[in-house]
């Protein structure tokens, strides 16, 4: 299977420092990817690099097999919705869709017409609710029948009901177009429902990447009596270690099932897994070189 997005050692430096660094990942086609991580982790920068709004400082990125910066025709196959559903606020709904139709060589009005039927074509974008604005922006992106759809924090301003309606429209569009989707969100609950692939960024680096089911299968919480830690059969890596009183709780990545009966073995939810991989003790120390540069610009 080809990759929808692939990067090798990708990095982007701004004046204030590195926003994305040493980023190597591979997103399979037709995946629905949750791009997770706290605010400032580099999620928006990574999406901007994918749609050539930014050029990499180092490393390489391939989108649908092409370099988006050198081969801008690739962008015709990518739908991108930036933060806060960017649209022309003085346009009406009809004008927005008309403009989108004229700007895109391949434009399919069916998705927009089906999911925006309740919106009066004459209403100004500035008069729309946050939910309707988000759905209009999504309709413009889906109308291109993109092979890849990138959404930056689409739920940030939506209440739960508008968020659900947006998700229904998004999933319906995916079922129709078969597009690969990347949804950036700092709220894990927003992407948990749909994501089958996770990319977790923190401080500009990829902390965890992979198929959600495989990640959940390969990680377990081990609880047992506190003891000096030796090798535990089946455990490949201890991701997080917590003590409380006489109890010891480990989050472990497994190579094989843990059968040692002195451990009680439990599954872990995606949100807790991501939080564990984001934990500060897992972040690499900054190199002196980076520290110096930060001080210089700080």
């Amino acid at each position: 299977m080809t990759a929808a997005v692939e990067t090798w050692g990708l990095g982007k430096r701004f004046r204030r420092g590195w926003a994305v660094r040493e980023c190597t990942l591979s997103i399979p086609e037709q995946a629905i990817v949750g791009l997770a991580g706290p605010n400032g982790a580099g999620k928006s920068t990574l999406l901007s690099l994918a749609v050539a709004l930014l050029a990499p400082t180092e490393g390489e990125i391939r989108v649908l097999g092409h370099d988006p910066w050198r081969e801008p025709e690739t962008l015709e196959q990518i739908g991108y919705v930036g933060q806060d559903s960017p649209l022309y606020r003085s346009f009406s709904v009809g004008e927005t869709l008309d403009y989108a139709r004229r700007m895109n060589a391949r434009w399919d009005p069916t998705i927009a017409n089906r999911s925006l039927a309740h919106l009066p074509a004459g209403r100004r974008v500035s008069a729309l609710s946050a939910g309707d604005r988000a759905r209009l922006a999504l309709a413009v992106a889906l109308g291109k029948r993109p092979r890849l759809l990138l959404l930056d924090e689409p739920f940030a301003r939506l209440d739960p009901r508008a968020g659900r309606e947006f998700l229904q429209m998004l999933m319906d569009g995916v079922a129709e177009t078969g597009a690969t989707v990347v949804v950036a969100s700092h709220v894990v609950a927003d992407i948990e429902r749909i994501a089958d692939h996770i990319v977790l960024l923190s401080e500009g680096r990829v902390r965890l990447e992979g198929n959600v089911e495989e990640l959940l299968t390969s990680h377990r919480l081990l609880t047992g009596a506190r003891r000096p830690l030796g090798r535990i059969g089946g455990v490949e890596e201890i991701v997080r270690e917590r003590h409380s009183g006489r109890q010891l709780t480990l989050l472990a990545r497994l190579a094989a099932p843990v059968v040692d009966p002195s451990w009680s073995v439990d599954e872990i939810a995606l949100e807790e897994l991501l939080l564990a991989y984001m934990a500060p003790e897992r972040l690499p120390r900054r190199t002196t070189d980076e520290k110096r540069r930060l001080r210089w610009h700080g």
Binding site: Q30, A31, I32, R164, L167, Q168, L170, M171, D172, V174, A175, E176, E192, R193, I194, A195, D196, E213, L216, E267, A269
Partner: protein, 130 residues
Amino acid sequence: MIEFHLDARSGVATYLQIVQQVKEALRLGLLDLGDQLPTVREVVADLAINPNTVAKAYRDLEREGLVAARPGRGTFIVGTLAAPSLRHHEALRRELESWLAAAVRAGLDEESIRALISTTLREALVREVA
């Protein structure tokens, strides 16, 4: 037609919840040979979930011989779980009821009963796999 529902807090993978709900409906005789499952599009639009998840659930059911996809028409029930076992349900239920009465007489409350049943079931399933 069966309508799926999702329990986001159950910890059970979404595709498994769909598989389990179809099997449960088959076991209880709520779905029968020839019945149609909702299309992937319908489930996706209803539950706002990943189409791949629905497709995976349907593929699993197909592999188990319970449903068949007919291109352009939909996915239909072709197997059944009810027929061989349904006639035993009544006797088994009576045994379970007398067991429950014994448990209550022994002083177990609802939580202890549930815990005992689920651990016993889990251990029995593990033994079966091993």
